[in-house]
């Protein structure tokens, strides 16, 4: 396999196979390349038939597209995972406590650990949530923590997704596909299961039902509709949980409850897993133009008549500017040292930060504070002089809109390319469920892989693919 300078998760510097990959490698060496290539095609057909497709934003007439799937699994040892999941657990508890504090006493601001401007001037801060107590005290029912790796034990959190993390259907379908194509691999390796996720999700959501719920809570998934790029995932999760998939126009506020229009009249909902952004949730309280939400749902919510997952206003915790304060946030609420590392982050809103970023632009990654999907970012080392200059102008015009980080040397995992195994950069998004019963981290997650040689951008909208992620039972 071709060498790269980054840490490769399968092969050591001297080409010896690292422990978690040993059994897989034995299998792989006995496999015929032509058979594997046909398996790769089989995987594509399976994905297309199942309908795991997405629409690219801004291209309404575009065909449904598949996210490329690579058949080589990404393998993590049980002990590595144990350390990671403890760190994730800690971080998620801190995030939840932080959001509660921000919408109540703001102790962390009073203690001078997070500047007040970061909260008041933040678009993700929802004044409507001040003083609201969500059922069970949970704000972030579902969290996705994006991790990258740079060395044997070196994991960094790149981003916390505390609003509506997506991609869990790929975690599940990738595993399903691997189980169908390579059953023998799962006989030879003890891979921890991920398939319980939908059952756990439903239990976790039901455990957060409002106090007034007497019977088995009625759960529903709220989708923006069939043209949303993640519609497949919304339908998939509703189907796997055995709950209704609703849109705004199926719902209305009826008798102090949010109710869905069934063939036999309106039926109240206890827990709404919404995949609609805050802004569109309630045209009476937020964006009045929204067709996707339910007029008055926020009033029902504030009166304790429904659980909204994740709670409105959780975006305050996954904002990229807040991200730089995460080590302080973790320490402040848990009283513990953070187990997971943050990537050093320069805030362009601060003069010294901006100066440093301008001076070192070609070595940095610059991101928009509110951006997502890999859009609007600059990767210094991969950019031309012209691109750097034009970005420099943007930075000076709106410094508060940007943060910058050093380019990390992301770890690689091999993909099955036309010429055999080839190292490609990856990240990892584990999925976490939070309820009053505790925090549950699913062993595995979504591994995204930059399929282009040398590329660091793993986003599916920009040429990224996915892999099945194995956590071994040690």
């Amino acid at each position: 396999m071709a060498k790269s300078d980054s840490f490769d998760e399968m092969l050591d510097r001297d080409d010896s196979v690292r422990t978690p990959y040993k059994r897989f490698n034995e299998w792989f060496c006995k496999e015929d390349a032509a058979r594997l290539r046909s398996k790769q095609r089989e995987a594509d057909t399976l994905f297309r038939l199942t309908g795991i497709t997405f629409n690219v934003y801004g291209r309404p007439d575009a065909e449904e597209r598949l996210i490329p799937f690579d058949i080589i699994p990404r393998i993590i040892s049980g002990s590595e995972w144990y350390r990671l999941s403890r760190g994730i657990d800690q971080r998620v508890r801190a995030i939840n406590a932080f959001i509660h504090d921000i919408y109540h006493k703001q102790e962390i601001v009073k203690a001078g650990r997070v500047p007040v401007d970061m909260i008041n001037g933040n678009e993700a801060f929802l004044p409507e949530m001040i003083g609201v107590n969500p059922p069970g005290g949970i704000y972030t029912h579902i969290v996705g923590i994006d991790l990258v790796r740079t060395g044997p034990g070196d994991f960094y959190v790149l981003e916390d997704n505390a609003r509506t993390p997506s991609g869990v259907s790929y975690m599940l379908e990738n595993r399903e596909t691997m189980l169908q194509m390579f059953p023998e691999l799962f006989s030879q390796n003890r891979v921890q299961p991920v398939q319980n996720y939908p059952v756990n999700l439903r239990r976790s959501l039901a455990a957060c039902a409002p106090d007034m719920t007497n019977n088995e809570p009625v759960v529903a998934v709220l989708t923006p509709g069939i043209f949303n790029s993640a519609y497949f995932e919304h339908a998939f999760l509703a189907d796997q949980m055995g709950v209704e998939l609703v849109e705004g126009h199926d719902l209305k506020v009826d008798n102090g409850r949010v109710a869905m229009r069934t063939t036999r009249g309106y039926k109240p909902i206890d827990v709404l897993y919404r995949r609609v952004d805050d802004e569109f949730l309630d045209p009476l309280n937020f964006n009045p133009e929204s067709q996707l939400g339910v007029p008055g749902i926020m009033d029902v919510y504030r009166a304790g008549g429904i659980t909204i997952a994740n709670a409105p206003g959780t975006g305050i915790a996954d904002d990229k500017a807040i991200y730089s304060y995460m080590p302080e946030i973790v320490e402040f609420y848990t009283g513990e040292r953070p187990l997971l590392k943050n990537v050093p982050t320069y805030r362009c809103s601060e003069p010294s930060g901006l100066q440093y970023v301008l001076d070192n632009l070609k070595d940095l990654v610059v991101k928009e504070v509110h951006g997502s999907g890999g859009y609007g970012m600059l990767i210094g080392p991969a950019s031309s002089k012209k691109e750097l200059e034009s970005f420099r102008a943007k930075l000076k015009a709106r410094p508060g809109n940007y943060i910058a980080q050093p380019t990390l040397s992301l770890s690689t995992v091999p993909i099955f390319s036309r010429t055999g195994l080839a190292p490609r950069h990856v990240d990892l998004r584990p999925f976490v469920l939070v309820s009053p019963a505790g925090v549950k981290v699913t062993p595995g997650g979504l591994t995204r892989v930059a399929l282009k040689k040398g590329s660091l951008v793993v986003n599916s909208s920009q040429g990224g693919g996915t892999k099945d992620t194995w956590v071994l039972e040690d």
């Binding site: 339908a235 209704e244 063939t263």
Partner: protein, 313 residues
């Protein structure tokens, strides 16, 4: 179940049924055209009419020709009832109701759609037509098979069936509406060659030849054909069969509630008033008028089902 989901199921199965019926009409048209020596294009006029797409066809075409008619019914994007559009619409609705149908039904629907798209990318050559039509019908048949084999018998299934049988009744009635004159007792001497071709065309377009032969033999004429297609409850595309299935499924949906739904009353009326007679009474009333009234009833039932089960509000 959500009203929206009931709506999606209803239309998913209506469009699957329509795709299949349209494919069968094309197959019949082609069969008649290549086995008959005169008036070849005339048959396509009545095929388009039976498909309920003649008016729309003339908005785009000047004259009726075989190639244009086949293309219009098979794959035209301008014709929402073309086989391709029907399958696309069915699949779109299947995505909307993905949580109500089984994975097997979804995958069969998606496979039918993927096949239809690849088979109908270009105009279909005459020599490929039989094979393409067979593939298309197999695709939709697989969805039906998966529906029978894997779906719970609950309200989801009831709405699927209601969509299927409303569409099917409509299709049978339309074929009778277009060809009623060859079925009248006054339509010339039994057994003349023209009529044989016409009768064969009617039976073929309803997949009814085999059953009819077994039941009535070769000597039978228009009266028996009408009897078979309108009143015979054993024939799965007859009006009486469809009406009785609609009755059953609406009754299941209704459950134990005391007050009868308006849509159930209407279907009941359809069955009692129109489909319990003997065939002589229908001819006395006038076959054409009779079929017209049935078509009108079917439209009303469709609208009433939407209202009764809160499809839209």
């Amino acid at each position: 179940m959500l009203g929206k989901t009931a709506n999606g199921l209803f239309w998913m199965y209506r469009y699957l049924e329509r795709a299949e019926n349209t494919a069968r009409l094309i197959e019949t048209g082609e069969r008649i055209a290549i086995t008959r020596l005169e008036d070849r294009d005339e048959e396509w006029n009545s095929v388009l009419q039976s498909g309920g797409v003649l008016d729309a066809y003339f908005q785009v075409n000047e004259t009726v020709s075989k190639d244009a008619a086949i293309n219009w019914m098979l794959r035209s994007k301008d014709n929402p009832s073309s086989v391709l559009c029907c399958i696309e619409t069915a699949r779109h609705n299947a995505r909307l109701v993905r949580t109500a149908i089984t994975g097997e039904v979804w995958e069969a629907t998606n496979a039918a759609y993927m096949d239809a798209r690849s088979l109908l990318t270009r105009r279909v050559n005459e020599r490929d037509l039989p094979k393409v039509l067979r593939s298309l019908r197999q695709g939709t048949a697989l969805v039906r098979g998966m529906t029978h084999g894997t779906m719970m018998r609950n309200e989801v299934y009831d709405f699927a069936r209601i969509g299927t049988f409303l569409e099917r009744a409509d299709n049978t009635a339309r074929i009778l509406d277009v060809k009623y004159y060859v079925l009248l007792p006054s339509a010339g001497s039994v057994g003349s060659s023209i009529d044989n071709v016409q009768w064969e065309s009617i039976l073929r377009s309803l997949s009814a030849r085999g059953g009819f032969r077994m039941e009535y033999g070769h000597g039978a004429g228009p009266k028996e054909i009408t009897q078979y297609l309108v009143l015979d409850k054993r024939m799965p595309r007859s009006l009486a069969f469809c009406a009785s299935k609609l009755c059953d499924n609406l009754r299941y949906l209704h459950g134990g509630q005391r007050k009868q739904l308006p849509s159930f009353k209407q279907v009941n009326l359809l069955e009692q008033k129109y489909l319990k007679h003997d065939i002589e009474a229908i001819f006395d009333f006038g076959l054409h008028e009779f079929v017209q009234e049935i078509l009108d009833q079917l439209r009303q039932i469709s609208t009433q089902v939407e209202i009764d089960f809160r499809f839209y509000e």
